[in-house]
């Protein structure tokens, strides 16, 4: 997948190529264009220049739902679930009509048992951490081949972060899935990702493997005051 664009001057000539099965973290301070990058890949914003290919198919002229049906999962930073729908309804929406809801909940039960027993509860009544679990679970049971995750750890307790990390690690180990994580929590990001990129003012200023790099170092160099 390669892309290059400038969108409302938020992104400038960004190029990224991910191999199948690769897990990449994108880090950087707020307002540097990370979320814009994900929104553009998901098809909500059209690149003003350049092109995007998801799983070898160009996404130009495609509606976001068409991109989603190509096998792209997108977990947005805000408003990523329907608070007035039940857990079951939230999950059902992401599932193709022919897939069984019970199978889906059997799988969810393995990763997040806390959700599986409360299928009829309204999603808005879950705690912040449980909501994030639901969002991640819903993205995973659709079996995306490329998953974009925007700051899923924001505002969560360490224990919940650990649960989410474990779930992602298990699922990515189980089957080939390409993941792009936008993260502020570098410890979380570095525990999962094989590669990281730093964004600054809409550009990628660094793109290298995480191997041999300490997250504290990267935090000091690129995020600290």
């Amino acid at each position: 997948m390669s892309s290059g664009y400038g969108q409302a001057s938020v992104l400038h000539d960004v190029s990224l190529t991910l191999q199948a099965g690769e897990i990449m973290a994108i880090v950087g301070r707020n307002g540097m264009g990370k979320s814009t990058l994900l929104r553009t890949i998901a098809g909500f914003l059209a690149p003003t220049q350049g092109s995007i290919q998801v799983l070898a198919h160009p996404t130009a002229q495609k509606q976001p739902f068409e991109v989603a049906r190509m096998g792209l999962g997108y977990v947005a930073q805000a408003r990523a679930l329907f608070p007035d729908l039940t857990i079951q309804e939230n999950v059902a929406l992401a599932l193709a009509p022919r897939n069984s809801l019970d199978d889906a909940f059997a799988r969810i039960g393995e990763i997040f048992p806390v959700l599986a027993d409360r299928r009829q509860q309204l999603a808005g009544t879950l705690s912040g951490g449980e909501q994030k679990m639901l969002i991640l679970a819903r993205a995973l049971i659709a079996d995306p081949r490329l998953l974009l995750i925007d700051e899923i750890t924001e505002g969560l307790q360490p224990s919940v972060r650990e649960t989410l990390r474990l779930a992602l690690a298990t699922e990515t180990a189980r089957r080939s899935m390409t993941v792009v994580l936008v993260e502020q929590d570098l410890a979380f990001a570095f525990a999962l990702a094989e590669r990281y990129a730093v964004m600054k003012l809409g550009r990628i200023v660094k793109d290298e493997p995480t191997e041999g790099r300490q997250w504290q170092e990267v935090a000091r160099d690129h995020l600290a005051v």
Binding site: F65, R69, D84, A96
Partner: protein, 278 residues
């Protein structure tokens, strides 16, 4: 007293019936459909067509929704789809659509009132008061319709997808929901319900090309009041319908026709919210 109560109930039921199609379109598409009145007219004229072919007037209850739904299915891709996000232009364009439909009806049937064979059920006596059976039958019809709508919304996948689109269409898209198709279906459904309302109105009003216009005004004002909630619509219809009957009884028929617009405008001012976003 019983007659008055029944008047309130049947008037409210009619208001609900006339408004609910507008509400579906507004909820799913954020579109205020000024062609709604014209769809009602089309539904009513199905009785004229049925009469010409010697069909039973009961068939209009199917023909009306079919005809209006078909026009909706043509209009949505040609006009409405191009105007998403341009709310003001949608009001203008759907009003233009209403002009076109009304003129087509006039071209075909003339501008005068059409004599029609309408359903005649005679009267029944309710607690000692004789009352039109047909008017009375509107109440169960509306109840059945609203329960059907609720069931579709709560129990089917279409309903689930539809509710998701109302709540957050961007998020629905990221889950692979074809929002375009949901909107198309909603518009056709809303139009068809307007057609049904038109067919139901036939025995109670004269059939002419502008039949739908006064209903449009009431439906539009009520839909602004209630946002997208069908429960709120039921309450608003009951309150405003009763108000209209009572004002008509205490004053005259002109003040009765003005009761709903005036009340709605004042209520909207008091509630003081942007109802579009509500």
């Amino acid at each position: 007293m019983v007659g008055l109560l029944l008047d309130c109930l049947t008037t409210s039921a009619l208001l609900f019936l006339v408004t609910v199609g507008l509400l579906i379109i507004f909820g799913m598409m954020r579109i205020i459909n000024f062609a709604h009145g014209a769809f009602i007219t089309v539904g009513a004229y199905s009785s004229v067509v049925a009469g010409q072919y010697g069909l039973s007037p009961w068939l209009t209850l199917i023909l009306g929704p079919l005809a209006a739904g078909a026009i909706g299915a043509i209009a949505e891709p040609l006009v409405l789809r191009r105007l998403y996000g341009r709310q003001l232009d949608t009001i203008l364009a759907t009003w233009g659509l209403a002009l076109i439909i009304t003129q087509l009806v006039t071209l075909k049937f003339g501008r005068g009132t059409q004599p029609v064979d309408s359903i005649d059920l005679g009267t029944v006596t309710v607690l000692g008061t004789p009352y039109s059976s047909y008017r009375l039958a509107v109440i169960p019809l509306v109840l059945v319709l609203s329960i059907a709508i609720l069931l579709i919304l709560r129990r089917t996948r279409y309903g689930l997808v539809g509710r998701a689109v109302i709540m957050d269409d961007d998020l629905a898209q990221t889950l692979g929901v074809n929002v375009k198709r949901v909107r198309f279906t909603s518009f056709v459904l809303g139009s068809a319900i307007a057609g049904l309302a038109g067919a139901v109105l036939v025995p109670m009003s004269s059939v002419d090309p502008n039949l739908g216009l006064p209903w449009l005004i009431n439906a539009f004002l009520i839909s602004l009041l209630v946002g997208v909630s069908t429960t709120a619509l039921a309450f608003a219809s009951l309150a405003l319908g009763s108000a209209q009957v009572l004002v008509g009884l205490s004053f005259n028929s002109v003040s009765a026709t003005l009761a709903i617009p005036v009340l709605a405008v004042v209520l909207l001012r008091l509630r003081a919210h942007g109802f579009v976003r509500g």
